[in-house]
Amino acid sequence: MCGIAGILFKHMDIDRDTGKALIDMLDGCQHRGPDSTGFALYGDDHPGQIKMRFYVGTGNEAGDAIGRLREVFAEQGAELVEDSQIGSAYRAVVKFSGDLQKFSYAVEHAAKVMSIGESLEIVKDIGTAHDVDDGYDIHHFRGTHGLGHVRLATESDVKPEAGHPFWATGFSDVAIVHNGQITNYWKMRRRLERRGFEFVTDNDSELIAVYLADKMSQGVPLKEALRTSIDDMDGTFSFLVSTKDEIGYAKDHLAAKPMIMFENDDLIAIASEEVSLNRLFPGKALDTREPPPGSYNTWSRST
């Protein structure tokens, strides 16, 4: 149960206020989910390097996890470029050129992975958008696009790793935020598990992310993967997905979960409620659109 937000600046300029825009949008719909807040942010990338974010907790627990991770990096042939500990998260940039899926499953046994990607970084923790900003300095984040999520935990616990966005475990740079419930979760998950995919949570949002990433890894365009997801997933959902260069949405046939969007030459912004979109343009009445039931679309950065 939650509120979602996403923004993509259409031009190649990576130096945009993505972090601040998402904080504003999430603050606008914080009433939808006061338990935890998360961000998926896409910044600059360097060829051959991947950014990794882990939940490691604090104190000795964190020290142990970071130690284990450094061992796994070495075992897997990943060369550490830089790392740091922020709040309960550990951020590492490594040079790695092997099989990312195997690598990600290996590091998952050392600590809880929040994201892996060339430009993606997921930051999530308990508290409001401003709380998470205080702990992780989101508002200084410059980038091209990103997703955000505020969560009211209903069935699972209030833990940072149970919050959104979810990374598509094993797939570089794919993230998702989701409002709703996938009712054929186990059926879909077992189908993917039989094909060798691992799931690190029991959260249905991770399933959507892996489902889409799997399609894309087979060469299916994101837009087509979104189309099939609407028929393959049962339940009520409105979700946003992002890749290194794209942002997309899908909405179920019952239209039970809200979603509204605003687009101009510069950006596309999508959120659960218009109040979030209006935060980007205070005092202006926006020409917004509500996507119809069973619809989907994508936008990518252009040159």
Binding site: L152, E155, N179, I260, E274, P282, D287, T288
Partner: protein
Amino acid sequence: MVTIDLSQVSVREGNEQIRAAGAEGHDIEVLNPDARHHIGVGLIHPVTVTVRGSAGYFLGGLSDKANFRVERNVGWGLGDNMYNGSVVVGGNAGAIAGVAIRGAEIVVKGNIGSRAGQVMKKGTLLCAGNANFMAGYMMYGGRIIILGDSGERLGEDMSGGEIFLGGPLNSLGSDATLTDTEQAEIDDIRAFLDRYEIPFKGSFQKVVNAGKKLRYGTSETPVRSIPFFTFSGQSDYWNQKVQEDVYIKSQIGRYRVRGYGGARAVPHLSDLAFRKDVTAAAIGDDPVADVEMKTLIGGINGAKPLTLSMPVMIAPMSYGALSRSAKQAIAIASGMAGIAENTGEGGMSDAQRDAAKQLIFQMLGGRLGWNIHDMNRADGLEIYISQGAKPGFGGQLMAKKVTKELAEIRGIPAGIDLRSPSRHPDILGADDLVIKIEELREATGYRLPVSVKLGAGRIRDDIKIAVKDGFDFVELDGMQGSTGAGGAEVMEYVGIPTLSAICEAERALASIGRRQDIEIVLMGGIRDGVDAVKGLCLGADAIALGTSAIIAGGCIACMQCHVGQCVTGIATQDPEHEKRYKAKVEAQHIYTFLESVRWQIAAITKALGHTSAKQLSRDDLVALTPEAAEITGLPYEPDRRNVELFQAAG
């Protein structure tokens, strides 16, 4: 003209200013609305509110007589539950525009989101652009005019009213059908369009209810009824109840609908005993004078709490299931006993309001009888999610009870088998619920406690949502609770026992450290003061009595509540039957019964060694059966079943 700038003041302050300006007859202009929610809710004066920009959810909701003009877009629930008055939106509207309106004129110049006009009763909703999925869903009356595309499943499960479509028909919903238009109707639409300056010259198709789902095909065979007390006998197999069930199904070919609750034996409060031998304790001549029982409920977040003379309330029961006289008797008795009464579904009557000193007003998914004026004269507001006897189902009121008068109050067609919606149009998740609760608080100036009625199902999850969403208290209802009409199998097998409900709720709240942030009123088969004390010991802040109050007031438990020909005049809308019910006499009986409950609570509390009902705790209880011990986590002491042994040992 009063100007309110929402970049300078909060919506809450803004709404207070809007209401104050409205009371003085001033029009209002709202600047920098920036799609904020709840603008203008609860306004009941004939003034015009102009919103310079876009508004969020529930623009003009729970209002009467006021006129709203919005320059651009609005979010979900436009004009929610508006009585008279009007709204004109220059841009688009989100989902459920015109939800539950009862007379308002709502005009959207752009497109409307899904389920427009859901459960509307009266008035006009006009969409000059395209509609979306299931416009007219479950509408009971009034008129929807769509000039553009119909969207999918137009008129899904509508039971009354008319939809006029000027654009292409995408698809019709279940139980909706096309019919011929009449010239007078078209003339009236043209006049409406002219009034709102909407140019449209095309023709119209008309969609109405097809009438195939509004009544059960076969009525239940009248049988010589077996009273509940026999019906719930010890044998679970071929007892009289099972025989009766089979017989009725052999005649009607479907599940049976009946009154009362589950008759299956499940662990209950009677499977618990007090740790001390309360019969042996000295309680003095007047335990009521010696034990503190006054209980405040609903004040923890700053609203004015209900003040109960003992930790007891009346459970929600509707005027509809029960006669006006029966509701009046209960209201009188509740006032005499100094406790709170609850309207249940279907609206508030003057007689009930006058008689009950404290009255909770309940809101259900069908919004039957729900309105701002009665909210304003209530002492508490309650959002019904489900009830213990039939969690996940809406109320059922068979055609015989849907009289003209009752239909008028509820705003529905007379004579239908009313199956109330099982879910709210605007509460599809915990996130929507937050916004709904705030709408109720905004509309009534944050004065009243807002509670939630939860039928016990997935209590572990639901109670966490209740506390996180900020309810003041929860009315928690187990499967031993009764109902005026429900599917027999649902009542037997769907809910969870009252005992499980309270224990799961306590554990779930403890697990997130939030027990102090919500109060629990437990109900569902609480029969007397002894059960009440056990419920309080398990953690409830108060308990509520429904069936026992009805029985005290003359019910004979024949289980034919749904039929509508109650011989005692309690569960009927037939004046001939109701005539038999002597409200004042029965009020005295109910009051006398409530006083017996008071004495029992006081006597047992004192016998357990306490001076206040608040001191009751789990330490005062033991479990008599393995099942009850498993559910409650209380020590299993089967020896207590044998009173002689207990006394000899003790």
